[in-house]
C-alpha cells in the first residue's frame, strides 16, 4: 500500500491517521480536512466552550507539529467531492484528483435542520467551534433562549445557558426525549433536574414556525398554539451524515456508510466515527454511534484493519452527558425493552447506579454522579443479570 487518504480530520480521521503511523504504515498519508481549524474535541462545545470556561486552544486535538512529525499531508480547508471506486481515486473541491490504495472515510455529521427552517439572525445550530463562538456571543447579549430538541446537545446547552443566567425554554415533540438513550426512569429524572433549575420544559410540543423581523428571529410558534417571544433559538434535533460526496460512488449508503464488522465498506475502503454504520459482530445488526469514545476506538480499529489486522470491531460503548452538577455515564447500549435493577443509591441522586437487562443478560449499566462505581460495574455488561438489587 503506497498511499492512504483519510477524508475527515476530526477525532476519527486524526486518530486513524495517527494509528496508521503507529502501526508502521510508512507510505504517503494524506488527510483531507473540510474545516479551517485543526481537528478539535466536540463534547466541550456545548459545555465549557459555550460557557467560556475553556478556550479553543484547549480543545485542539493535535499541535501543528503532529502533522510534520508524522509525515501527514494535512490538506486543511479542503473538501472531497466525489469517490471513484473503479479508478480508486477521490476528487477534491479544487478539481484535483487523488488516487489512493487505501481510503478511510470519517466525514462525520452536520446538524439536521427542521423542515423549512429559515435562515435568521439569532437562529443557531451547534456542531463546530465557529457555531459555538457565534452562539456564545448571542447568549452574552440576550436574556432568554429557546432550545428546540431535548437530546444530549439541547439539554447540555440548556444547562449551560441557565448557568450563564439566561431564561431557558426547552421544546421537544416527545414526552420523554431521552428515553431511548438513558431509559425512561433516568430520562424523567433528567427533565426533573432541568425543571428544578428553572428551565421551562415543554415536552410534547413541536415548532410550527419562527417569527422574524428584518431577518432577526423574534419568536417561536408551537403547534399547540403557544407563542414564545425570543431573539435567540438553538435547533438541536439531531444530525445528518455527511455522505453526499459518496452518492454517485456505488458505495453502500444507508444511515451513513454501510460497513462490515471490520469497518470495511469496500475492498481497501473503510469508515469510522459518526458516519460509519457498521455491523456489530455480537448483536448482528448494523449500527451507528454518535459518541466521543466510539470515534476513537472505531478509528483505531478501522486503521488497523486497513493494514491487515483482521479484527472485528466489538466495543463496549460508552457515553456521558453533563448538566449542572450532574454527570450521567452509560456503558453498553440500553435496549428498547429492559428490566432495570438498581445496584446502588436512589434515582436522580448522586451515587445511583443501575443495570439494564434483557433476556437475563446485562446490556448496559448507568450511573448518576457515580463515576468510580460505574467504571467498576462496567464489567457486568454482557454477563448474566444480577439476581437482585444491592441495597442503596
Amino acid at each position: 500500500m503506497n498511499r492512504i487518504v483519510v477524508v475527515g480530520a476530526s477525532l476519527a480521521g486524526l486518530t486513524a491517521a495517527e494509528t496508521l503511523r503507529e502501526e508502521g504504515f510508512d507510505g504517503e498519508l494524506i488527510l483531507i480536512n473540510g474545516e479551517t481549524h485543526i481537528g478539535y474535541d466536540r463534547p466541550p462545545l456545548s459545555k465549557k466552550i459555550l460557557s467560556g470556561a475553556m478556550n479553543a486552544t484547549e480543545v485542539t486535538l493535535k499541535p501543528a507539529e503532529f502533522f510534520t512529525a508524522n509525515c501527514i499531508n494535512h490538506r486543511i480547508g479542503m473538501r472531497a467531492t466525489a469517490l471513484d471506486l473503479t479508478a480508486r481515486s477521490i476528487a477534491l473541491a479544487t478539481g484535483e484528483i487523488l488516487a489512493f490504495d487505501g481510503l478511510l472515510i470519517a466525514t462525520g455529521l452536520r446538524p439536521r435542520p427542521l423542515l423549512r427552517q429559515p435562515v435568521l439572525r439569532g437562529l443557531h445550530m451547534l456542531r463546530t467551534l465557529d457555531d459555538a463562538a457565534a452562539l456564545r456571543a448571542d447568549m452574552l447579549d440576550t436574556p432568554a433562549i429557546v432550545i428546540v430538541g431535548a437530546g444530549f446537545l439541547g439539554l447540555e446547552v440548556a444547562a449551560t445557558a441557565r448557568q450563564m443566567g439566561l431564561d431557558v425554554t426547552l421544546v421537544d415533540p416527545m414526552e420523554l426525549p431521552m428515553a431511548k438513550q438513558v431509559g425512561r426512569e433516568l430520562a424523567a429524572a433528567v427533565l426533573h433536574k432541568h425543571r428544578q433549575q428553572g428551565v421551562e420544559v415543554r415536552c410534547g410540543s413541536s415548532v410550527r414556525s419562527f417569527e422574524e423581523s428584518k431577518g432577526q428571529v423574534t419568536g417561536v410558534s408551537l403547534e399547540d398554539g403557544a407563542q414564545l417571544p425570543t431573539k435567540l433559538v438553538v435547533v438541536a434535533i439531531g444530525s445528518l451524515t455527511n455522505t453526499e460526496w459518496l452518492q454517485a460512488s456505488g458505495l453502500p449508503l444507508d444511515n451513513g456508510v454501510v460497513c462490515d464488522s471490520f469497518c470495511r465498506a469496500a475492498p481497501g475502503v473503510y469508515a469510522a466515527g459518526d458516519v460509519a454504520n457498521w455491523l456489530h459482530p455480537r448483536l448482528g445488526v448494523q449500527m451507528r454511534f454518535e459518541h466521543r469514545m466510539h470515534a476513537t476506538e472505531q478509528a483505531m480499529a478501522a486503521a488497523r484493519n486497513m493494514l491487515g489486522a483482521g479484527l472485528a470491531f466489538d466495543p463496549l460503548p460508552y457515553f456521558w452527558t453533563d448538566f449542572y452538577d450532574t454527570r450521567i455515564q452509560v456503558f453498553g447500549r440500553i435496549p428498547a425493552e429492559y428490566e432495570m435493577t438498581v445496584l446502588s443509591g436512589h434515582l436522580g441522586e448522586s451515587g445511583f447506579t443501575a443495570a439494564f437487562c434483557q433476556g437475563g443478560i446485562v446490556e448496559a449499566v448507568a450511573g448518576w454522579n457515580a463515576a468510580r462505581d460505574i467504571r467498576k460495574i462496567s464489567t457486568l455488561v454482557g454477563n448474566p443479570a444480577p439476581k437482585e438489587a444491592v441495597a442503596g
Partner: protein, 66 residues
C-alpha cells in the same frame, strides 16, 4: 522515560485511563476525577499509559518524553 501530566479541569471521569493502566491512574470516589499514582512510571508501563492517553475522551492526559 516519560513524565505524565494530567488536567483535572478537562477530566470527565470516564475511567478509561484506569482501565488501560490501573497501576498509574485511579479516580476520586466522589466525582471520578483522575488521580495520578505515579508521574514517571517504569518503561514496562509506558505502552499502557500511551493507550490511556489516547483513549481519554477529554484530552486530560499528556505524555511528555523525558
Amino acid at each position: 522515560m516519560i513524565k505524565i501530566h494530567i488536567c483535572e479541569h478537562k477530566c470527565v471521569g470516564a475511567g478509561q485511563c484506569v482501565m488501560a493502566s490501573p497501576e498509574v491512574f485511579d479516580q476520586r470516589q466522589d466525582d471520578g476525577i483522575v488521580i495520578l499514582l505515579q508521574q514517571q512510571p517504569p518503561d514496562s508501563l509506558v505502552p499502557s499509559v500511551r493507550k490511556a492517553a489516547k483513549l481519554c475522551p477529554a484530552l486530560a492526559i499528556r505524555v511528555e518524553e523525558t
